[in-house]
Symmetry: C2
Subunit: 193 residues, 2 copies
DNA sequence: TGAATTTTGTGACAAATGTCAATTGAATTC
DNA sequence: GAATTCAATTGACATTTGTCACAAAATTCA
């Protein structure tokens, strides 16, 4: 089994204990893709009909508001990324997913996921758990966006996802936190980070 | 079948087509509760082990930050409310759910929901769909909190949930939008609403 | 390497929002 | 129905943040 698939298997094992053979159903459906820095995994307007497990690399999810990009999420190796609304409701995506580093992902189409759910109920549970995880992430994001002043938002990010600050250009972080680049610049100068 | 249960059945029919008899499994597990204005359905620190379908009335979900209440959601009749994190992960709730009007709800414990999933797979799908719905709601909330100036936040709320503005005290709306009461007051004066 | 481009940082100022205090208005209670 | 409490509004001012302009630094690419 190639490394990327192994990583995915291991990731799932951390989400739910899977009996022998449950994962093997997936093998025929999984696809390994290489995405270069700057390339898009999903573009606005496309239907995003897959989820991607990131074996290696880093992505950002963003959408356009009045012509400017607003980042909503950074996804790094050993996690799953997708344009959620598009994937779930089979509608064109409003979101873009772009690689911030050269990346390798394992993709699974919604169609094939549906087949897997039919073959083994554990995959339904996987789907449920991943959805719940996404809920918690979004809930945390909503909390950190409301009422926190810019400094605290930055500190929270520093606490919760310190790697992001190392690996993501400042302009993208600013947009993620909902502050201007300049404000974030000044905050960083003050924090001494 | 009493009215509240009927309402719940009808609500579910809108979420997923349920075959004859699928809903009837639930009857033995559902409980109808009356909550007076001001009372709490869930309090911080408790484990929230149930979801509640609101047949009648209105609730707010809020948490405490440095002693002040921050509202994260308003839930009205014909929708479902719960302290999501607590329900899913069986941990003490950080959220409070309080009735803003005299209300009647139909509750279902997580324990019983699990039983129902065992008896009929459609309930697993119900759970999945409701979780996805919650994701979309949270995603929308995160979007409206980030970068929108106060005026636009208010306009968006006016567009998306006009009833809330009629039925919820202004102070609670301000906290929901992430602005001070005073600022919201001034915005309302300007908008002429 | 060196030029061009992009990203980041800084200063000056304007706009938006928060805070505090006082007032008005509405709801509740006795 | 008057008194009391609570909620909402308004004014004055301080603080935060955004915007614009430009400089410095880093990165990209020929």
């Amino acid at each position: 089994m190639i490394n990327e698939i192994k990583n995915f298997k291991q990731y799932l094992a951390g989400v739910i204990p899977m009996g022998e053979g449950s994962f093997e159903i997936a093998l025929q459906y999984l696809k390994v893709e290489t995405i270069e820095k700057g390339e898009h995994l999903v573009k606005e307007g496309q239907a995003c009909n897959k989820v991607a497990f990131i074996s290696n690399g880093l992505f950002r999810i963003y959408y356009l508001k009045d012509g400017t990009e607003i980042n909503t999420c950074f996804c790094k190796e050993n996690s799953i990324t997708s344009a959620f609304d598009s994937f779930v409701n089979q509608v064109p995506s409003k979101e873009n997913i772009q690689a911030l580093e050269d990346s390798v992902v394992v993709t699974l189409s919604s169609e094939n996921l549906a087949k897997m759910v039919g073959e083994n109920a554990v995959w339904q549970t996987v789907r449920q758990l991943l959805t719940e995880k996404e809920c918690l992430r979004l809930s945390g994001r909503a909390t950190s966006l409301s009422f926190e002043p810019a400094l605290e938002k930055y500190r929270n990010l520093l606490r919760d996802q310190p790697e992001i600050i190392q690996r993501v250009p400042v302009q993208h972080i600013a947009s993620y936190l909902g502050v201007s680049r300049e404000t974030l610049s000044r905050i960083r100068a003050r924090v001494g980070e």
